[in-house]
């Protein structure tokens, strides 16, 4: 989770008021515990009402088509408490697609700065994750070059189900699954299928 400097709308309560700026000599365990508390509070606030702003930084628009499908009755994003908003100033979450073309770097940064904190950034699709376009004179190559990304959603394009799972991972309502996957098929299953 990322905090804008001094823009947190979280009410100050004893014990959590100073957690965003731990002193350098604080023990590592204490910092981790404090970070966990902040995560929990953000998740509890974002968990069932979250406003999303999408940002296209040079994608082919197929990721946008999939994002639009989220609002269709079949996937029905709103049942989960997510909503799209037209302005970054009203958004809690920035969903970024595309390889971050260089001409858009400043605009992307301004969009991020305009959002109130705490805020979440999701990089959506293989371009945004640095897969398709290498960094060159025209593109930064990855959204992570410009913005602090909290959740990465692979796919070309990611299906609406994958996007939903990514959103729920971002607000801590689902656990991340991919870290435990090896993408190897075990021998026994391979022999049967082969």
């Amino acid at each position: 989770m990322t905090h804008g400097p001094g823009t947190s709308p979280l009410p100050a309560t004893p014990g959590t008021a100073r957690v965003t700026g731990p002193s350098a000599e604080a023990p590592a365990g204490q910092v981790e515990r404090a970070a966990g508390q902040v995560r929990e509070r953000i998740a509890s606030q974002f968990g069932r009402s979250l406003h999303i702003r999408t940002l296209d930084t040079g994608s082919c628009a197929v990721c946008e088509q999939e994002i639009r499908l989220l609002a269709a009755p079949h996937y029905d994003l709103h049942r989960l408490g997510f909503f799209f908003t037209p302005a970054p100033r009203h958004a809690d979450l920035l969903m970024v697609t595309g390889p971050m073309i260089r001409a858009f770097g400043v605009a992307a940064r301004k969009t991020y700065d305009a959002m109130p904190g705490p805020k979440i950034v999701i990089a959506t699709g293989a371009c945004a994750l640095g897969g398709v376009y290498p960094s060159d004179a025209f593109v930064h190559g990855s959204v992570g070059e410009i913005l602090p990304v909290d959740v990465w959603i692979p796919g070309c394009p990611p299906s609406p189900l994958a996007l939903l799972q990514g959103l729920l991972v971002a607000v801590d309502r689902l656990a991340e699954k991919v870290a435990g996957l090896t993408f190897t098929a075990d021998t026994a299953a391979g022999e049967v299928a082969g």
């Binding site: 994750l129 692979p154 799972q165 309502r173």
Partner: protein, 113 residues
């Protein structure tokens, strides 16, 4: 609709979980490949790296490095070596750390005949 209303009043929860039941369309989604390490040697790994259009595959000595984040699920590696590469069926791939998406597939030490 009245049922939902009453349920919402009673439980104080107006949103639902994901997914309520398995989605029938999930079986047809394009998904990144899964590899069979016991059938992958260096030569085949190099061929797979060659056909990958999105730099998702590269080889470091005896390890095939598969960047799931860069994969576009185009299926070219699967077409090149159907005996060693299959469909993974995984599409719920959101990661909180970019490094979680980079997978290391061990290769055979000696070449396959």
């Amino acid at each position: 609709m009245p049922l939902w209303f009453i349920r919402g009043l009673r439980r104080g929860v107006v949103t639902t979980h994901y997914p309520a039941r398995p989605d029938p369309s999930a079986a047809h989604l394009p998904t990144p490949p899964a590899f069979r390490p016991e059938r992958l040697d260096r030569a085949l790994a190099d061929r797979l790296c060659g056909v990958c259009p999105s730099r998702a595959l590269r080889r470091e000595d005896d390890v095939l490095i598969f960047d799931v984040g860069a994969c576009t699920a185009c299926g070219r590696c699967q077409e090149t070596a159907p005996e060693a590469v299959i469909r993974s069926g995984e599409f719920e791939l959101a990661a909180t750390d970019r490094a979680h998406l980079v997978k290391r597939i061990p290769l055979l030490r000696e070449a396959r005949p």
